[in-house]
């Protein structure tokens, strides 16, 4: 295969054709800079590359893919430097004999490029003069950021920050039996046609398609696993079972119900137009993508991977999570609270919510004093260092306001934000340390529940390489009797076929609405009550 690769800081204009090839298919792709990055308006993106290696890596990827998808030629141009909105960042052109290989090669090349080629989006240049950092605010930032005035972010701003600071963790190959619920991180194509041969969909007799003979001589009998090619002549028939590979092309299968059999001869009692054949490649053609990178692997997807012979798919890793609870008033559920104490519900809440994500969850309780907490953490430092996600419940109590924040900074996390203009859940802390992310969650159970689904779930989705869920729309099945509030509110609700039923809650300490809740209604700031029938945004909270 002929390969041309170019990394340039110039505008990509001359696409040009890949000439002089007996190509039946030329597939072109342009990746264009959009005016939205992580929910914010931008005017340009800046890219950087380790050019010699990037060129070499792209060449290697194309060469290895060419073994699977034989193509004639490929041209790739990746632009680096500042690229304005609307301009092309990457251009790929594949020439092949047939479209199947060209499409498959193109799709798979882009997936592999995004995993292995050393090119980085460095920052988004915002359409209002200020720069929006993409990931440049990594661990290099000074740890004294808490002295800067902290901005209260809107819900959308907070989600955009989480989105831009979390990166998909390196994918792993696991056996199919361990892949349920994970996110596929490669595009899987059909290795062969499906069905792989013309096969009978009935128990009956195969004859030539236009054979008008009166009687037929039975030449052979074919069962489901038989492979016996032979050319039929007029007046000849082969007994076939459902699922059997047919002996040649240009046949029809006459159902046995429509045949009168006499020894090794048959007579057709009734002719019908159906051929009763499932043709080779009818379900799927070889090389066609079966499942795309980013697909969630359910039972059906796993069955398809097994059919395609992919016994060890490349998938998202299970996450390593460390969870600390704080608060001297917290006691274990089996104890009876003394005045001023409450039973802990956050350990089991977080454990349950994380179940489908975490491979390893370490939970413990910290004393509500920074120095004591530090020494309690002491020997858990290595667990934290090797974790992907750190969660701290509570620690925002009066008088010790910065406890969680201080703790995260002491552990090397840079605080991205510490206040979000939502209720419940305003004092939410989000920090990053390299590829690790941390959340300080307000300790009240309802705040915990809301913050997990709003923010932690968004980070988890990004870490495993899944599309973030986002808000859906549905109608209110009953009046939402909320008082005017200057903050956006996430209102617990029950979604059923009639719509959303708002549930009663008075404060973020309420827990009685939690068992019923399967959705959070997004109530805009400064909205009073909302009437039955009004269409609203909501976030599903089912974690099954």
């Amino acid at each position: 295969m002929k390969i041309e690769i170019q990394i340039t800081n110039q505008t990509i204009q001359s696409r040009g054709q890949l000439e002089n090839f007996p190509a039946g298919a030329i597939a072109e792709f342009s990746g264009v800079v959009r005016d939205l990055e992580n929910g914010g308006k931008i005017s340009a993106l800046e890219y950087e590359a380790y050019s010699p290696m990037a060129e070499n890596e792209m060449r290697c990827i194309l060469e290895s893919l060419a073994e699977k998808f034989p193509c004639l030629a490929a041209r790739v141009i990746h632009r680096i430097g500042v690229i304005p909105v609307g301009e092309t960042a990457i251009y790929v052109c594949i020439a092949a004999e047939h479209r199947g290989e060209a499409f498959a090669m193109l799709a798979e090349f882009m997936n592999r490029l995004k995993q292995d080629v050393p090119i980085w989006k460095r920052r988004a240049i915002s359409s209002v003069a200020a720069n929006v950092n993409l990931r440049t605010s990594g661990p290099s930032q000074p740890a004294d950021s808490h002295r800067r005035p902290q901005k209260v972010l809107s819900l959308d701003e907070a989600l955009a920050e989480i989105h831009s600071h979390c990166q998909p963790l390196p994918a792993v190959r696991v056996p199919l039996a361990e892949a349920l619920g994970r996110v596929l991180r490669e595009t899987v194509c059909a290795p062969e046609d499906l069905p792989p041969f013309d096969r009978s969909t009935r128990d009956g007799y195969a004859i030539l398609l236009n054979d008008e003979s009166e009687t037929f001589q039975i030449m052979d009998t074919l069962h489901a696993a038989d492979w016996k090619p032979r050319q039929l002549k007029p007046g000849e028939a082969v007994r076939v079972a459902t699922g059997a590979a047919l002996p040649c092309e240009n046949l029809r299968v006459v159902m046995q119900e429509n045949v009168e059999r006499n020894g090794d001869q048959i007579r057709i009692a009734r002719r019908e137009s159906a051929t009763n054949i499932s043709f080779r490649g009818e379900d799927l053609r070889a090389g066609k993508p079966l499942l795309h990178s980013g697909a969630k692997l359910g039972a059906g997807a796993l069955a398809l991977l097994a059919t395609a012979g992919n016994a060890n798919p490349l998938v998202s890793p299970r996450l390593r999570v460390v969870h600390f609870t704080t608060g001297d008033e917290i006691i274990p559920p089996e104890q009876t609270p003394k005045p001023g104490q409450v039973r802990d519900s956050n350990l089991i809440l977080i454990r349950s919510l994380l179940q489908k994500f975490s491979g390893n969850l370490e939970q413990s309780h910290l004393p509500e004093n920074f120095e004591l907490a530090k020494s309690a953490i002491g020997n858990r430092q290595s667990a934290i260092k090797h974790s992907d996600l750190l969660l701290v419940s509570g620690g925002a109590s009066v008088g010790e306001k910065d406890f969680t924040r201080q703790l995260l900074e002491w552990l090397g996390f840079e605080i991205v934000f510490s206040q979000v203009n939502v209720r419940p859940g305003r004092p939410l802390i989000f920090g990053v340390n390299g590829s690790r992310v941390a959340f300080g969650l307000p300790g009240n159970p309802l705040s915990h529940f809301v913050c997990f689904h709003l923010f932690v779930a968004a980070a988890l989705a990004k870490l495993v390489g899944e599309e973030p869920k986002g808000f859906l729309r549905a109608k209110l099945a009953a009046k939402l009797d909320g008082a005017l509030n200057t903050r956006e509110t996430l209102w617990p609700a029950r979604l059923d076929s009639a719509g959303l039923h708002p549930l009663a809650w008075a404060s973020s300490g309420n827990v009685t609405c939690l068992p019923e809740t399967n959705a959070l209604i997004r109530v805009p700031a400064n909205r009073g009550p909302m009437e039955t029938g009004e269409e609203v945004n909501f976030l599903p909270t089912t974690t099954e």
Partner: protein, 79 residues
């Protein structure tokens, strides 16, 4: 040995490249140990950042010598 830093790793290192002296042949973990000793902020990158040796991703068993050019490749985001 010349070490190149890209993207966030360059921010953390505070420099696009670094020269360190090594003798004999060393493995990935020893390179990291040396880097983190020199630039402690790079510790945060150890888990997700791959090393390249002379423009190719290093394998677990790859050995490096003083003549090699090594690059730190944080998670990529091209395209």
């Amino acid at each position: 040995m010349r070490i190149l830093f890209f993207a966030q790793a360059r921010d953390a290192a505070g420099t696009p490249e670094l020269d360190i002296k090594i003798s004999g042949s060393v493995g990935i973990e020893e390179i990291w140990d040396g880097l983190v000793a020199e630039k402690p902020k790079l510790a945060a990158f150890r888990k997700t950042t791959r090393l390249a040796r002379n423009g190719e991703y290093a394998e677990a068993q790859t050995k490096f010598t003083d003549a090699d050019e090594v690059a730190l490749i944080p998670p990529v985001s091209g395209g």
